[in-house]
Symmetry: C2
């Protein structure tokens, strides 16, 4: 693949990230993506055969980054710190990459006209692997017991809601309010209290 090809593919994926994250799969148009990438529409379709293929390629290129926070939980670390790190990494990802976050959120909410068996398989594998780690920590009394899969998704979704500066927060607290700082404090409180060993009452 030539240098110019690489550059154009990159420009297309970057433009697609913009459009798909703002308007969803249906709402984004090839016209917009081509314009944003500085290419004509036929030229766009020279690089990718269809809209679906652009979307698929985009998801594949983002998947590793997206799964990194959960993936970096280590069975060998101190349990609470590992879980807090997962939360902080995810929150940071959402802060610096809101568009990527919205792509995946939209995928979960509305699905896509094409399936992603490889993507689903990788998510399943990773979540189940980390759930085993969490359950082991609970068995050894290092953190309080709860359903590990629900815990993983709870942190996933709680951090997710702060993407794109958290629309609900902006609606309630003003257009220019940035909830990220408070978010970390709040989520650390939740997790510390939630996971403290031998819960009472």
């Amino acid at each position: 693949m030539s240098r110019i090809q690489r550059k154009n593919r990159e420009a297309i994926l970057s433009a697609a990230l913009d459009m798909f994250s703002q308007h969803g799969f249906k709402g984004a148009t090839l016209d917009q993506i081509a314009a944003q990438a500085g290419l004509s529409k036929p030229n766009l379709l020279y690089y990718f055969p269809s809209k679906e293929e652009i979307h698929r390629a985009l998801l594949n290129s983002l998947l590793d980054q997206w799964l990194l926070p959960l993936n970096s939980i280590s069975a060998k670390g101190e349990p609470l710190q590992e879980i807090l790190s997962y939360m902080r990494r995810k929150l940071e990802l959402v802060r610096i990459a809101p568009r990527e976050s919205r792509i995946f959120a939209s995928l979960i909410l509305l699905g896509a006209p094409h399936s992603h068996p490889a993507l689903e398989e990788e998510v399943r594998r990773l979540v189940l692997e980390k759930a085993i780690v969490l359950r082991d920590w609970m068995d050894r009394g290092l953190i309080a017991r709860c359903d590990p899969v629900h815990l993983i998704f709870a942190i996933w979704t709680l951090t997710q809601q702060y993407a794109e500066c958290g629309l609900p927060f902006r609606v309630v607290l003003g257009e220019h309010y940035d909830p990220h700082q408070e978010a970390e404090v709040f989520l650390e409180q939740v997790l510390r209290r939630m996971l403290r060993p031998r819960p009472q009452w």
Copy 2:
């Protein structure tokens, strides 16, 4: 308004709920909505002047139901029980009305081509009102201190993720897994541990 008019408007909104929740605003078409409602497309546009107006009317008709769980928090009740009731009502709403949940989630994620100032204003008013109630309970030491607005949204989003049987849960745990039962147990654990007065460590 005649009886037949009322019946048709109702059929249209019901069909619109189906289509908008499955495909989003852009993805839904008037053809599908008209067919589902048993009307011709021009007849559909006799009742509502445009696609946007259908969407707007639908949101308005669902708003009260959607805000009811939060609205029913009473300053006079026992704090933890009131908050658990909010969580349970929201979870029940998500269980029996997944389509409605997806409509609002999609609105938050992608917005809509038309604004909803009245809707936003009502959400803002309600959240701020209940945040004051929560803060008062914290000041009186009845529940542990945390940011009340973040708490309200945390419960909102944690229950939300179980809508439509919770796609991520189904991907990881199998197509026919239903997380609702476990969800209530899990969320009650989270909230009890989170809100227990005078937290230690």
